[in-house]
Amino acid sequence: MAKQYDVLFRLLLLGDSGVGKTCLLCRFTDNEFHPSHISTIGVDFKMKTLMIDGIKVRIQIWDTAGQERYQTITKQYYRRAQGIFLVYDITSERSFQHIMKWASDVDEYAPDKVQKILIGNKSDEEHKRQVATEQGTKLAKAYGMDFYETSAFTNHNIKESFTRLAEQVLQANWKDLDVLRASVTDELNIAALEEEEGIGDGHGDSQKACWC
């Protein structure tokens, strides 16, 4: 069986509810805009493979949408992630202030090597802006993160930011790449199997999900 990808990374989206995490995710994983599509809960709808430096990087993105009130659960996700998006909404000062809380949570629960990136979403809503770009840049610098202003609506900087984080994760794990390859073998097989099954029983198109 040909390998579908070389490495698998787990990325996590964090931020207050309503900052558009889910929209970012769907924009990235399913770039086409389907206003009228109906979707069901897909099996692998949060997977995407990127080519970085000739390496096929499969990224799996987790979203804790709808579970924000379950504090005890969301923290469990941190430990398994290799990269984290800290997302705020540029039209909400409050969501920006909370980034510090999210960042300290990450420091506490996530593995040391975890890579972070700061995202100011909804950059298309310039007229409602409450957080200046400089503020974002400053905060990102203080935490040693990269910073992007994105818009799920206009598809601005979406792919760039996801690719950037994936690159960072790849760099951070470069030495362990071989180990990583070995450790994902099981999951790789499962994923490959799922993909095959998906084609086999014709669920491929019905379960293809689009969330925007």
Binding site: C26, P35, I38, S39, A65, G66, I73, Q76, R80, E108
Partner: protein, 778 residues
């Protein structure tokens, strides 16, 4: 393949019909179909005219009836209402008759549309007759993808392979679908053959239509209802006979009014009580997303009223259709009440409607059977845990709505909208003031109740970790409070110096009550309390929670929030108990007890608490206790590792979904996953599209909500028999109710156990838990 089959079905049935009439001129098929439609309309007009004339009540029979009929055939309900209004002053009763009849025509029109006639006509229009007189003509060459599809009309062509010769001979009615058959084939008619030929492009476009199988219904020139053929039911072999063809259509988009009309038209009122018609179920579980309860009562009332007097004054045999509609309205309302129960009683408009309906049913002979049916619905929970029908039937003449709603095994009363709670608001010096506030009170309301001047005071939410958050004036003050969180009223300068109360910090030492209790007993207590909280929570709360308060400012989600809170409490409780246990051997015993508890919860199908305990055991403060983990026996550790896999969110919680799929009812679902699914359905799909309600989204919502509904509607009985119980069967009926159960351990006594599992004191500050964990094991 199914697409192909479906397309073939159409081709074949087309052919069969034409042949039956022995008509060899296929091209006029389209014409005939049109004619058929015209004839039907003319007949309908004539029938209407005759009927109206024979009643002799219409002043200008010709014009009026024609007018009405044309409007009816256009499906123009608004204009129907106009006509209705004009005549209202003249002859009220007559008008009602006519309107009722028009409704009937409209319904028939809908039915007619469903027969997919349109599709057949479409196919006929692009079909060409091709006669091959010469023998040996090659229709499709080997290895070449053909450009046309054929249905053999007359004759029997052969399929010949270059290598093997004649492979098979096709006969009348069989097909040759060029683009789908990749195998090289040569078709050579042996005799004179006639084919029906459809070009690939036409075929594909129709196939697409057939596949989508959309039916558009318009109202006043605007699209009002878009139906989609359900692919599941079309080929379902065991589909019941009475399921009319309309059942095969699902609403894709529609206005609230037309959706309800279609629902009344297509619902099967004879569906047994326990298995609701899926369409009715979807509609009732989600209607409040696109229409208010008041609108629903108004629309049902209208459907009922229009037919009311008409049916009373006519022969029942003639108007079975109208009685049916009425019956269906009543059935729908009964199911509505059954589903929502007490929640509806908070709405005066709904109560008024129900009372009115009850009176109408009283005077209605046809609906008496419905009343009897309702009376028979009174269920009782016997001591052995079985539900039984109440033998004493209701002798009254009116509907008793209280008999209708689904009774849950509830000992904890659900929180209702008008409930008030006692809220303690603290000052910076830890003195407090108590105020009675409604659940949805905003910060502003609380400030007003405290008579605090707004200018220099603010409400602060203080967590046990000491973290504070100033609340905005329009935020809700009560429901946002998490575990060990308190509200403080203070000025800006005091806010910086706020310290948490003693009560917020959680227990200081292990109270060791757990030691005296078996894991089974504790799990049983947890489950029984979970079950109470779970059944007190209505399905609608989940959807309100996901849709958000902005959209539904007066929605009630308190019961759900209580259940969410419980989950967090149980998780923290596991961590707290372990971190407070300083002695290693004791701690190892406790850890084993918790793993055992998880096993019991898993077997009791309490997925919610099972996951809560597991999240506790995998918390960073616990998982780092390596010395303790080493003392756990290997077998138990192995089981724990297996459970841990269920927690893995890989592939959208695939592992957990697989486990849950195997569970039979009743079980307590893992709520976070349901909330997540609902969130994604909501964010991924539009509620409205071009002003029409996206009912497919509602179906998705309903599918998820139905899981919760089905779980709630079952009486809960523990699966795992306790050591102390007398009967050890695994069958549900052999086991006693949880409240009757004897405690498996002599000490502590039952009330204490009861109290233990309900009031769990926990440390909710993760930092403090981690510190404790570091203190007991480096």
């Amino acid at each position: 393949m199914s697409r192909l089959k479906r397309a073939l079905c159409f081709l074949c049935c087309l052919r069969a019909e034409t042949e039956a009439e022995e008509d060899h001129d296929y091209t006029n098929m389209l014409e005939r179909a049109r004619l058929h439609r015209e004839t039907w309309r003319l007949n309908e007009l004539a029938r209407l005219k005759i009927e109206l004339e024979s009643q002799g009540r219409v002043q200008q029979p010709d014009q009026a009836s024609q007018d009405l009929a044309t409007k009816a055939s256009r499906g123009d309900s608004v204009e129907i209402e106009d006509v209705e209004r004009k005549r209202a002053l003249e002859q009220e009763r007559e008008q009602e008759e006519r309107v009722a009849r028009l409704m009937e025509i409209r319904r028939q029109k809908l039915q007619r549309t469903f027969q997919a006639e349109k599709l057949r006509i479409e196919l006929a229009a692009v079909m060409v007759l091709q006669s091959e007189v010469r023998m040996g003509t090659v229709l499709i060459s080997q290895g070449v993808n053909g450009t046309s599809n054929y249905v053999i009309w007359k004759g029997s062509p052969n399929i010949i392979s270059n290598r093997k010769g004649v492979m098979t001979t096709l006969h009348e009615g069989q097909d040759l679908l060029a683009p789908f058959k990749r195998r090289p084939q040569v078709v050579r008619p042996e005799h004179v053959c006639h084919f029906l030929r459809v070009g690939n492009r036409d075929f594909m476009s129709i196939l697409k239509d057939v596949n989508a199988n959309m039916v558009h219904v318009e109202e006043k020139g605007e699209p009002a209802l878009i139906l989609k053929r359900s692919s599941e039911q079309v080929f379902a072999p065991g589909a019941p006979e009475h399921a009319s063809c309309s059942n095969k259509f699902l609403v894709k988009l529609g206005t609230p009014d037309t959706i309800l009309q279609f629902l009344l038209f297509s619902m099967n009122p004879d569906t047994p009580d326990d298995q609701m018609d899926p369409f009715v179920c979807s509609f009732l579980l989600t209607y409040y997303v696109f229409m208010t309860p008041e609108e629903l009562t108004w629309l049902s009332q209208r459907s009922l009223f229009l037919n009311d007097r008409f049916t009373l004054h006519s022969e029942p045999s003639v108007d079975t259709g109208l009685v049916q509609v009425k019956e269906r309205v009543v059935t729908l309302v009964i199911q509505w009440v059954a589903l929502y129960g007490l929640l509806l009683l908070d709405n005066p408009a709904v109560v008024h409607f129900l009372e009115k309906l009850s009176k109408q049913v009283k005077g209605h002979a046809h609906l008496r059977m419905l009343r009897d049916y309702i009376s028979a619905r009174r269920y009782l929970l016997l001591d052995n845990g079985q539900w039984t029908k109440n033998q004493t039937s209701n002798r009254g003449h009116q509907l008793d709505w209280s008999l209708v709603w689904n009774k849950h095994y509830q000992t904890t009363r659900p929180i209702r909208m008008k409930d008030k709670v006692l809220l303690k608001v603290y000052r910076h010096d830890h003195r407090f003031t108590s105020v009675r506030m409604p659940l949805n009170a905003s910060v502003e309301d609380v400030m007003a109740a405290l008579k605090a001047p707004v200018g220099d005071n603010m409400l602060i939410r203080l967590k046990s970790s000491g973290a504070r958050e100033q609340l905005k004036m329009d935020a809700r003050a009560i429901s946002i409070l998490g575990i060990n969180e308190r509200l403080f009223l203070c000025s800006a300068s005091q806010a910086a110096e706020l310290t948490p109360l003693q009560g917020q910090l959680g227990p200081k030492a292990n109270r060791s009550t757990l030691e005296n209790m078996s894991a089974k007993a504790m799990a049983a207590q947890l489950t029984s309390y979970d079950w109470e909280l779970f059944s007190a929570m209505h399905e609608t709360e989940l959807l309100y929670y996901v849709l958000g308060r902005k959209q539904f400012p007066n929605s009630l989600t308190a019961n759900l929030e209580r259940f969410i809170r419980r989950f967090n409490v149980v998780t923290y409780w596991v961590v707290t108990e372990l971190c407070l246990c300083a002695e290693l051997s004791k701690r190892a015993r406790l850890m084993r007890k918790f793993i055992k508890m998880a096993t019991v919860l898993y077997r009791e199908k309490n997925m919610n608490s099972f996951m809560a305990v597991m999240y506790g055991l995998t918390n960073s403060a616990v998982s780092r206790l390596h010395k303790t983990w080493k003392k756990v026996p290997k077998a138990q550790l192995k089981r724990f590792r297996q459970y841990e896999l269920i927690l893995d969110p890989f592939s959208n919680h695939d592992a957990l979904r697989q486990v849950v799929a195997k569970l039979d009812l009743p079980y307590i679902p893992y709520l976070p996953l349901i909330l997540k699914d609902l969130t994604f359905i909501n964010e991924g799909n539009k509620t409205r599209q071009d002003n029409l309600v996206n009912f497919e989204k509602m179906n998705l919502f309903a599918k998820t909500l139905k899981i919760v509904k089905d779980c709630r509607n079952q009486p809960y009985l523990p699966i795992v028999p306790q050591r102390g119980s007398t009967k050890k069967g695994t069958g549900l009926h052999n086991i006693q109710k949880p409240s009757c159960k004897k405690p498996s351990c002599k000490k502590p006594s039952y009330p204490e156990q009861f109290h233990n599992s309900r009031k769990l004191h926990v440390i909710s500050d993760q930092l403090k838990l981690t510190q404790l964990s570091r203190a007991i094991e480096l």
